[in-house]
Every structure is written in C-alpha cells, then in structure tokens.
C-alpha cells in the first residue's frame, strides 16, 4: 500500500486522494468479509450426530439433520455391520465391534440406507437445507 501511495504522490494531489479512497474501500471490504464470516459461523456450527448399531438395529432408525452435519455410526454388536446408502452413494464400510465411522451430508434430501451384510437392517437420514 505504501509503494502504491508513493507512486501516486509523485504525480500530484489527486492520486493521493485516490489512494486514500482505495485504502478506505479495501478496509471496509476486509471488515465486511470478516463480519460475514463471523455471522455465518455463529449462525450454526455443523453437528455430529450418532447412530448406534445395536442388536441388529440402527438406533435411531430415522434421523433428521441439517445440511453440513455429520453422522457417526458405532457398532455395538459382535457381528460386523455396514451403513450403506441404498444406491451405494455413501458407505461406512465394514464396522467391527466398537468401530466408528462418520459420513458428512452436504446434499439436502431423504437418504435411505441398509446393512450390506444384513439387508433387513434399514435406516433413514433426512437432511434439511441450511
């Protein structure tokens, strides 16, 4: 900024005013960007939800979350399980006893899932728009 100012100083008074104007604009812009960031962040932090896999059930089987949130699945059974979207858009992969894997949901909508190993196990995540 000082180099720019010096350059314009050599040409006369008007550029100096322009430099001050530019500085002002940049400062305001920077402040606006910073304040916007703060506003968004304080509005809502992403939440991590938990679904337990227990006695061959997803608990809760239906879960409503907000766009940007994550869901972590923890398997409490001896038998390995998965949480796999019906069209395999996302998949936790094999979860052995006490293992945890999380998935972040950035697209709104209802997403049904099942266990690849025990297809009678079903669940649903409803992702609401921010």
């Amino acid at each position: 900024m000082s180099q720019l100012k010096r350059h314009f100083d050599g040409k006369g008074g008007v550029p100096l005013n322009f430099a001050r104007f530019l500085t002002l604009v940049l400062c305001v812009a920077a402040g606006w960007i910073a304040s916007t960031h703060v506003t968004v962040a304080s509005e809502r932090q992403p939440v991590v939800h938990q679904v337990k896999i227990e006695k061959f059930r997803f608990v809760p089987a239906d879960l409503t979350i907000r766009q940007g949130d994550s869901v972590e699945w923890i398997n409490l059974d001896i038998a390995p399980h998965t949480a796999t979207e019906d069209n395999k858009v996302w998949d936790t992969g094999r979860l052995n006893k006490d293992q945890i894997t999380s998935v972040t949901f950035s697209t709104p909508g209802a997403q049904s899932y099942f266990c690849r190993y025990h297809p009678s196990m079903r669940g649903q995540i409803i992702v609401q728009a921010q």
């Binding site: 006695k55 061959f56 001896i78």
Partner: protein
C-alpha cells in the same frame, strides 16, 4: 444323556423341535462353551462349501455373512476363554454335531445348481433353528459364568437374524415348488 440324544436325533433328522426345558443332565460351562464354538465352526464349514459350489448371488452373500458373523462370535469366545484361562471340554453333544455335519456335508457335496442351493438353504434354516433352541432353552439358563452368559445372549441375537435370513432365502429360492 436324554438331552444329547434328543438333540442328536433332531439334528440328524433335520427336525425342527424345541428341546425339553427340563433337560436332565445339564452341561457344565466348559462343555457349553465347546459346543457353542463347535456349532459356529460347523456353520462356517457349510458356508465355505456353499462358496465353492453355489453360483446363486443370494446364497453366496448369505454364506459370506455366515463366515463373517460366526468368525466374529468365535473370536470373542476365544478372547473370553483366554481371559478366563480355561479350556473348553469336548462332549457328547459336540461330537454328535460334528458327526451330523460330516454326513450333511457329504450329502451337499454330491449336489449342484438349484438342488444344492435348496439343500444348503433348508439345512441352514433347520440348523439355526435347532441350535437357537438349544442355546436359548438350555445353554443360557444353565451357564453360570456371567461373561459367558453375555456372550451366548449376543451370539443368540446374531443366530436368530441368520435364522430369519435363511427363512427368506428358502422362500426366495422357491424350493418347495
């Protein structure tokens, strides 16, 4: 002896019957542990046979689940046995199960295609029914060591899911038509 004979007959005949709850000679914890482990291993062997012979996607997926789940349960059993520093005891019921399974494997090995799939699926259903009845009505009430009881309860939950899957597999294969 009455219990063992009854289960032996039920398993060999493929009958689907509950064991009498007033079983006369109760097995001890180490015998129960041995038989539960053996029953799981038998099903793992059936599953490997299915993967070698069957070309049906549902049958193969079921067999893979049997291997995955029974191995997981038996791993927990080994961990528990190691922790308790005990050795499971072979017994008449374990031996009867092993003999019955050898005969069934010989029968299955002579089959292929849909006949194999149906025989395997039907046997899985009958086998899980008999084992589940035994674990629920006989083993769990008899066992005295709490962690072994907990393991049997968890194992039973798993085997009951298998029984349900075997049932729908038999239906989907339309074996009775």
């Amino acid at each position: 002896m009455k219990t063992k004979t009854f289960l032996a007959v039920a398993v060999l005949a493929g009958a689907i019957t509950a064991l009498p709850s007033s079983a006369q000679d109760k097995m001890n914890d180490l015998e129960i542990a041995h038989t539960a482990y053996t029953a799981g291993n038998i099903d793992i062997r059936y599953a490997h046979l299915a993967l070698a012979i069957s070309e049906n996607a549902e049958v193969r997926a079921f067999a893979q689940t049997m291997i995955r789940d029974h191995e997981a349960v038996n791993e927990q059993a080994v961990a528990l046995i190691t922790r308790l520093k005990v050795t499971p005891q072979d017994n008449g019921l374990s031996q009867t199960l092993v003999e019955g399974a050898a005969a069934k494997r010989a029968e299955l090995m002579s089959l292929s295609g849909k006949r194999f799939d149906c025989a395997y699926a039907t046997n899985e259903l009958g086998y899980h029914q008999v084992v589940n009845q035994t674990v629920e009505k006989n083993f769990i009430p008899s066992v005295t060591v709490p962690p072994l009881k907990d393991l049997l309860v968890d194992a039973l939950a798993t085997f009951k899911i298998h029984e349900g899957h075997a049932e729908s597999m038999v239906q989907n294969l339309q074996c009775r038509s």
